[in-house]
Structure formats: structure tokens, C-alpha cells
């Protein structure tokens, strides 16, 4: 059953068509990747999904609910969480505080209850903190809760961002280049972690990724964007042998043989 359906989504910035009539579908419990060269419109599509941008055309349905026109906070409340390509933690807040902010959409008490410290408020805060510590442990950062997030090492910041995204208990998790800047061993660990997320928690995962080893290793389905347009989709094996994908990544020359290379260079 599809959890997210996007049909002919288009986003323009002035004359530039960043995403062009993109159709996309992801089933409950799948791990799907969107790949494509830099500037292909992958992150723009993410931003349309999460409400940061409003799509100019097309329809996006999440569990049957229309996402178009909703603000980012409303979309998060529906159960979509994301991480960012260049880590965007709340730098001056501690690791625990970051996760607590992530839990925001699940907390219900009214602000004035904090002033008079109602029972409901105290219970909820206690639970929230417990949950935050549990998440911290889950991503392997136990004991670092009081650290200012800016001071954490790079890898830890990535994992903290994941924990913060998980804190809203999403049913769909959007990961924007989760292994960027990691060495092969770290990205292998991240791969395993992403798989565990799906297997243990049943979270559907949509990721943008450049590391082909990661993409081919965990994706059950891959969608390829180039200049905002979908040029291919399919399983890892299908994508790897698709000439249009190779062309998009390596240039026309590589795709159609060496004899055409000289002619292809000016075209790219």
C-alpha cells in the first residue's frame, strides 16, 4: 500500500524548472532512494514534500491526506520527519534539548501548565526526557546528552539529527544524504542503521544519496532525477544497466561508446 504518492509535481524558480512533473510513489515499509547529479532537484522535491516550498503544480498525498498548501509544522504532525544535507541541529542547544524539540509535535500540554507545574505537565516532561534519553542511546550517543550539539563530532551530529527526526515518531523519514562526509566504514554502519530503522520500527524511508555503494546496497527501489525530470526508476540492477542513467552521471560519451566521446564533450 502506498504511503506517499506524488503526481506530476512541478516547482519553478523564476525561469528555472527545478522539479518537472515528477511522479513518485513509495510503499509502506519500503526503502527508496532518489538519485541524480547535483542540481537535479532532489532536495527541492524534499522541500516541497515537507512544506518548506509550495509545489507549483501536482498533488502530493500522504496516507491519503493532501500535503499541498500545508505548513511544515502541520506536515510534521502528520508523521513526516526529515534530516538535512548539511546538518542543521540547533547548535547552541544540548543534545537532549535537540531531541526534546524533535518530540515537540507529540507533546500536548498548554504552556501555562508549565508555570503552575500541573501534574499532567510534570508527567509529560518526565516521559519526554526518558524518551529522549532512550533515543540518544538508540543512536549510540548515550552519555552525551548534556553536550552542546555544536561541539559534537561530525558523525555524532549526523546521528543526533537522526535521533531528533525519530523523536516525532514519524511513519515516513526523509534522509537527505545521510552518509555525506563519512568514511566507508561509517557509511556501512549508517546503512545498517537505516535498515534497522525500517526492520525494527517499521518506518518507511526515502533517501537522497550520492554514495552509490549505499544506494545500491539498501534501496529496494530507485528513482533517478536529472534536470528536474525523472529519467528512470526501478531496482538497483535495472538502474545500474540503464543507459540514460549512465549518461546522466558520466556524460553522453561514456554511455554510447568511446568513438562518440569527442562529439559529446561540448554537449555536456
Amino acid at each position: 500500500m502506498s504511503i506517499l504518492t506524488a503526481s506530476s509535481v512541478t516547482k519553478r524558480f523564476g525561469g528555472l524548472v527545478a522539479v518537472n512533473s515528477y511522479d513518485f510513489e513509495i510503499d509502506q515499509g519500503q526503502i527508496v532512494s532518489i538519485i541524480g547529479p547535483n542540481g537535479a532537484g532532489k532536495t527541492t522535491f524534499f522541500n516541497c514534500l515537507t512544506g518548506f516550498y509550495q509545489a507549483d503544480e501536482g498533488k502530493m498525498l500522504f496516507n491519503g491526506v493532501l500535503l499541498n498548501g500545508r505548513s511544515p509544522d502541520k506536515i510534521t504532525q502528520l508523521g513526516i520527519a526529515r534530516t538535512y544535507q548539511n546538518i542543521r541541529l540547533f547548535p547552541a542547544m544540548t543534545a537532549i534539548e535537540n531531541i526534546l524539540v524533535g518530540e515537540h509535535s507529540r507533546l500536548k500540554t498548554f504552556w501555562a501548565e508549565a508555570v503552575v507545574q500541573t501534574k499532567r505537565y510534570k508527567v509529560e516532561e518526565e516521559k519526554a526526557e526518558e524518551e529522549a534519553n532512550r533515543l540518544l542511546q538508540y543512536v549510540g550517543l548515550a552519555g552525551l546528552g548534556d553536550q552542546i550539539s555544536r561541539n559534537l563530532p561530525y558523525g555524532a551530529q549526523r546521528r543526533l539529527e537522526l535521533a531528533r527526526a525519530l523523536a516525532s515518531k514519524p511513519s515516513l523519514l526523509l534522509l537527505d544524504e545521510p552518509t555525506a562526509g563519512m568514511n566507508p566504514q561509517e557509511s556501512t554502519e549508517m546503512m545498517r542503521f537505516i535498515q534497522d530503522l525500517r526492520d525494527d520500527l517499521g518506518i518507511t524511508i526515502l533517501l537522497i544519496e550520492h554514495d552509490m555503494r549505499v544506494v545500491m546496497g539498501i534501496s529496494e527501489y530507485i528513482s533517478v532525477l536529472d534536470f528536474g525530470t525523472k529519467i528512470a526508476e526501478g531496482t538497483a540492477a535495472e538502474i545500474q544497466s540503464n543507459p540514460r542513467v549512465i549518461e546522466a552521471y558520466l556524460g553522453r560519451g561514456a554511455a554510447s561508446g568511446l568513438e562518440n566521446q569527442a562529439a559529446a564533450v561540448p554537449a555536456q
Binding site: T76, F90, A92, M93, H104, S168, E186, E189
Partner: protein, 565 residues
């Protein structure tokens, strides 16, 4: 290594010129002369002299620290040269002032100033005395640096406290007199200054205490911190109770005049708590904060005044919730149009809002209702069970109540979900929204609560003065409150009180400073940003953050902090 052992003449001269320029400026703008009227130690030292010698002494100390270690002679020489060079501009000033009429274009270069600079000994001997005194001070100051830390720190503490007590001797005399009679105060103080013997006694006592603390203090602190009673809940409540009792009894200790000062400090602190929410927690730079203060004050005036403009004749206690509610409404009204603005744009729009309110209040349009430039008079003071809270030491409790109210709400919210919402919004608005935070309501709550506190302060202010005028609500109030929370430590609740004491309390006590208030703000802010960017009493988080920042450095190589998997 070879060339490092040469004495660096250039550096010493450069520091000397810098110190001389500072001393010359404070003389020429009239600070030295004005402050010379305030004796610190009778017949020995005036505040003017302290200000005059501050830069040469300080820079001599610093340059002594820049000499190669082990070269004690170099350090003393550097101190001497720095201070002697620093005295040259002053010497030239004295000579010029006695030969030409400098007052035509430097009105502050008066005979009194020349008299201060030459120690009243005539021009030629005075010049030599000035140079000799400067030289000695320079050597002493450099010598201080050479002392081992266990002597240096206590001596510095001793000097500092003697100066501070001397500075406040006028008020202390008055207090001593009212508690112990004229006799005791005559023994300690002479006129409005410390007696030299008392100054010496204070210096020795503080130095000894501080020396003892230096030797044992850390151990004692650790032992107390480790002991189980220290961490217990009862102990914390105990501290709380003691602080509470001190605050309750404060008016009895302070007397009428100082209670009045305390009232001003606390009223500004209430505003500080509000602006701290808007700027410190939520990161929304609001420069029109005085508008809500004015709205609170005018509402109080309209609701309670016995003058023609008064419309309701309510009691203070009935009016105050209404004033706060109206200020909150005004906060929301300002908040809605600026929801989408960030940073500089927000600052400009709020600045304009503050001016609009002030000009409206002054305008002829509203004159029939709120009195225009004549303001509103006859605002009654609050009464409680038939008792009029008229005197400052009685009114203090009203202000204290308001301050506790504001501090309590700030404190509870800062640790709560709303506090986290604000902080997240301050750090990264887009991501905060992506975390499910509703930016509209979060921002409006910050504006509303901040405005509510400001309105509360305004209402109390109106009742305290019993009359209000438009000129009380100038842009300077906004700037004052903003400086206050920056100096105290942005986002820090105790910092609000500290900032208010420093920027509202101190200028009241040292009345001469009033003339140089803005200059002092500028200097203070620059010094703060260089020496203590986190503020005098920073919030825990911010302190850690800045410390870590200094350790890793602003341009820390990202590859240097690789993940430790």
C-alpha cells in the same frame, strides 16, 4: 631567541602613548575634573585621580606581562617607560593650558583641571610631581605583575574593595549614621570619604581574607560541594529562604533613598525579564520595547488618576491586570505584522513602533484624552489593607512582587516546552518549523509575554511617580533595557538583575556619571564584548557554549573533529 632578549622600546612607547591618549581624553572631556570632586580617601585620593591613572597603571601592568619571563628588570623598565610616556600628553596639556587660552575650544580644560593634574603645587613643580607619581605608579603596577599569584590576587582584591567602599562612602556614611549614630560614622569616614586609616584597615582586612581564601578557598568550596547536605533539596530551599528574607528586609537596611534606587532597579529588571524572553530566548530583536512600558503606564494613569483624564478611578490592584492585558494585546498587535520579519528588519520595524507610540502620546490629537506633553497627574499610590504605600521603602514591596512574578514565569517557562520552542526558533527558524513548531503562535507568545511584563513595569512606574509625561518613554529606555540584558548575560535570569544593578543602580549612586552615561555604556559594552562576551552572569548553556567556542576556536578545522565511532 637572541633578539628576543633585547628590550622592546617601541612597544613600551606605543603602550605609553595609548595610555596617555586615554588619560588626556578623560581630562579634556571633563571627567577628571568632575570626578575630582568625589573624594575616595580624604586628602589622599579622588575618583578623578583614579580615572586619570587607570589607563597608565593598567597598561603598565599589561606590558609587564609581555616581557620575557625571568627578566624582572625589563618588566619594571617597561612599566616605567609606559607610564612616563603616558604622562607626557598631560604635561603638554598643562603647559599649553597655562600659556594659551585653551578653553575657547576645549571648555573643560579649566583651572580646576590643571590644579588636579599638578596636585595643586603650581605648574613647574606640579609637572615634575605628575611625572614622578606616574613613574612610581607604573613601576608599582609592573611590580605587581612580578609578585607571585598568592600575593598578587589578595592585594588586588584589597585595592579594589578599598576603592569601591571609598566610592560609595557618601551613602555608607548616611547608612552608618542612621544605624549606629554619628559617632561611628565619624570614626570611619571623614566628610564624604574614607579616613586614610580606615582605608588602610579595610585594605589589610580584605587582603588577609582574600589571601586566606586563596590558600584554602578551593578546598573549602569542594568540601562543601561534595557534602550531601549541599545537594539536598532542603539546602536549596534554605538558600532560597535566606535570599527571600534578605529581599524582604532590604528596605530597612537601605533606607529611603536607596530604596528608591532599588525600586528603579527592580522596575527595570521587570522589563529586563520581558525583553529577555523576546530577545534572549526567542531571538527577536525588539527595539521598540518601551512602547509597552508606555502603554502600561498610560493605562494605569487613565484607570486610576484623580485628574481630569482619569476615566475609571479604579484602585491600583484592580487596574494592574487590565494594564497588563492591554499591553499583551498591544504586543500581539505589533507581533502580527512582523511575523515574517527577521533580524535587522524586525529591529527597524519595532523601533518605529516604539516611536509611533511616543509621538502619539505627545500628539495634539490625543491631548484631550491623555494630556499631551503635560502628561497625566494625580495617579494614586497603591493601598493595602488601609495602608498607603507612599514611601519608597513601602512601595518597594509592590515592585518586588512584580519582579518576583516576572522572574518566576520566566524561570518556569525557560525550562519548559515553550522555552525550548523559543530557543529552537532562535537557533534556526526553518528547522524549528520542520520540527512541528508553530512559528506564529510561538512568536506571538514571546511578544505577548514580553509586552505583558513591560506593561506591568509601566503600570508600577506610573504609580510610583504619581504622574507620567511622554518624555519618560524615549527610545533610550529600550536601549537601556537591551544593554542591561547584554551586560548581564543574554538569556540569563540572574543576569537581568545584575545588569539592572550595573546600568540602572550604579548611575543613580554615582550621580556624576549621569553626564557620561552614554559614553560609559559604549565603553562598558566594548569592554564586555572583548573580555566577557557571555555577560556578567551568563546562562549555563551560553557559558558552556562560549567556552567550547574559545577552546576549539572559531575556525576549527572540521576534519580535525572526526567522528569517533
Amino acid at each position: 631567541m637572541e633578539n628576543k632578549t633585547h628590550f622592546d622600546w617601541k612597544l613600551a612607547v606605543r603602550y605609553g602613548l595609548l595610555a596617555g591618549a586615554v588619560s588626556l581624553s578623560v581630562s579634556v572631556i571633563g571627567m577628571v575634573e568632575l570626578f575630582a570632586q568625589r573624594d575616595l580617601i580624604a586628602g589622599v585620593l579622588t575618583l578623578g585621580q583614579v580615572i586619570l591613572f587607570l589607563a597608565p597603571v593598567g597598561l603598565s601592568y599589561i606590558i609587564a606581562g609581555k616581557q620575557p619571563p625571568g627578566k624582572k628588570g625589563y618588566a619594571l623598565l617597561a612599566g616605567l617607560i609606559t607610564s612616563l610616556v603616558a604622562s607626557l600628553p598631560l604635561v603638554i596639556l598643562v603647559i599649553l593650558a597655562t600659556s594659551f587660552n585653551l578653553r575657547e575650544f576645549l571648555p573643560n580644560v579649566s583651572p580646576a583641571l590643571i590644579n588636579t593634574l599638578t596636585f595643586g603645587q603650581g605648574v613647574i613643580p606640579g609637572i615634575f610631581i605628575l611625572m614622578i607619581v606616574m613613574g612610581i605608579l607604573g613601576i608599582l603596577s609592573a611590580g605587581m605583575y612580578l609578585l607571585p599569584e598568592r600575593f598578587r590576587k589578595p592585594i588586588m582584591m584589597g585595592l579594589l574593595w578599598t576603592l569601591i567602599i571609598g566610592m560609595f562612602s557618601e551613602i555608607l556614611t548616611e547608612r552608618l549614621r542612621s544605624f549606629f549614630g554619628v559617632g561611628i560614622s565619624k570614626v570611619v569616614f571623614s566628610g564624604k570619604a574614607l579616613r586614610p586609616t580606615t582605608a588602610l584597615v579595610i585594605f589589610i582586612i580584605v587582603t588577609l581574607i582574600s589571601a586566606a581564601w586563596y590558600r584554602r578557598g578551593e578546598a573549602v568550596k569542594e568540601r562543601i560541594a561534595d557534602s550531601p547536605t549541599m545537594q539536598s533539596k532542603q539546602f536549596r530551599w534554605g538558600v532560597f529562604a535566606v535570599v527571600g528574607v534578605i529581599f524582604l528586609l532590604l528596605p530597612f537596611l537601605l533606607g529611603t533613598y536607596l530604596s528608591e534606587v532599588a525600586n528603579n532597579v527592580l522596575i527595570f529588571a521587570i522589563m529586563g525579564f520581558g525583553l529577555n524572553i523576546v530577545v534572549g530566548f526567542a531571538g527577536l530583536l525588539d527595539l521598540g520595547y518601551v512602547a509597552f512600558f508606555a502603554i502600561g503606564a498610560y493605562m494605569m494613569a487613565l484607570l486610576t488618576s484623580d485628574a481630569d483624564q482619569g476615566i475609571a478611578g479604579m484602585s491600583f490592584w484592580l487596574a494592574i491586570p487590565i494594564c497588563v492585558a492591554v499591553a499583551i494585546l498591544a504586543g500581539i498587535t505589533l507581533g502580527i505584522p512582523v511575523l515574517r520579519m527577521r533580524g535587522d528588519y524586525l529591529a527597524i520595524v519595532t523601533l518605529a513602533f516604539g516611536e509611533i507610540i511616543r509621538i502619539l502620546v505627545l500628539s495634539d490629537l490625543l491631548k484631550p484624552y491623555i494630556g499631551g506633553a503635560q502628561g497625566i497627574l494625580k495617579i494614586p499610590k497603591p493601598t493595602i489593607i488601609g495602608l498607603d504605600l507612599v514611601k519608597p521603602d513601602q512601595f518597594y514591596y509592590v515592585v518586588l512582587l512584580g519582579c518576583i512574578f516576572a522572574a518566576f514565569i520566566s524561570w518556569r517557562l525557560s525550562g519548559a516546552r515553550l522555552g525550548r520552542q523559543w530557543m529552537a526558533m532562535r537557533e534556526d527558524e526553518d528547522v524549528a518549523e520542520a520540527m512541528g513548531i508553530n512559528l506564529v503562535s510561538t512568536k506571538l507568545l514571546a511578544f505577548a509575554i514580553g509586552a505583558g511584563f513591560s506593561g506591568l513595569a509601566g503600570a508600577i512606574f506610573a504609580s510610583k511617580l504619581t504622574s507620567i509625561f511622554p518624555h519618560s518613554f524615549s527610545l533610550m529606555i529600550s536601549i537601556n533595557v537591551l544593554c542591561m540584558i547584554i551586560v548581564g548575560g543574554i538569556g540569563s535570569l540572574p543576569g537581568v538583575i545584575i545588569g539592572s544593578l550595573a546600568l540602572v543602580g550604579l548611575p543613580e549612586l554615582l550621580r556624576e556619571f549621569k553626564e557620561f552615561r552614554l559614553l560609559m555604556y559604549g565603553i562598558l559594552l566594548i569592554v564586555m564584548m572583548l573580555a566577557r562576551p557571555e555577560g556578567l552572569w551568563p546562562s549555563a548553556v551560553r557559558k558552556r557554549e562560549l567556552l567550547a567556542y574559545q577552546e576549539t576556536g572559531p575556525t576549527a578545522d572540521p576534519t580535525a573533529v572526526e567522528s569517533e565511532t
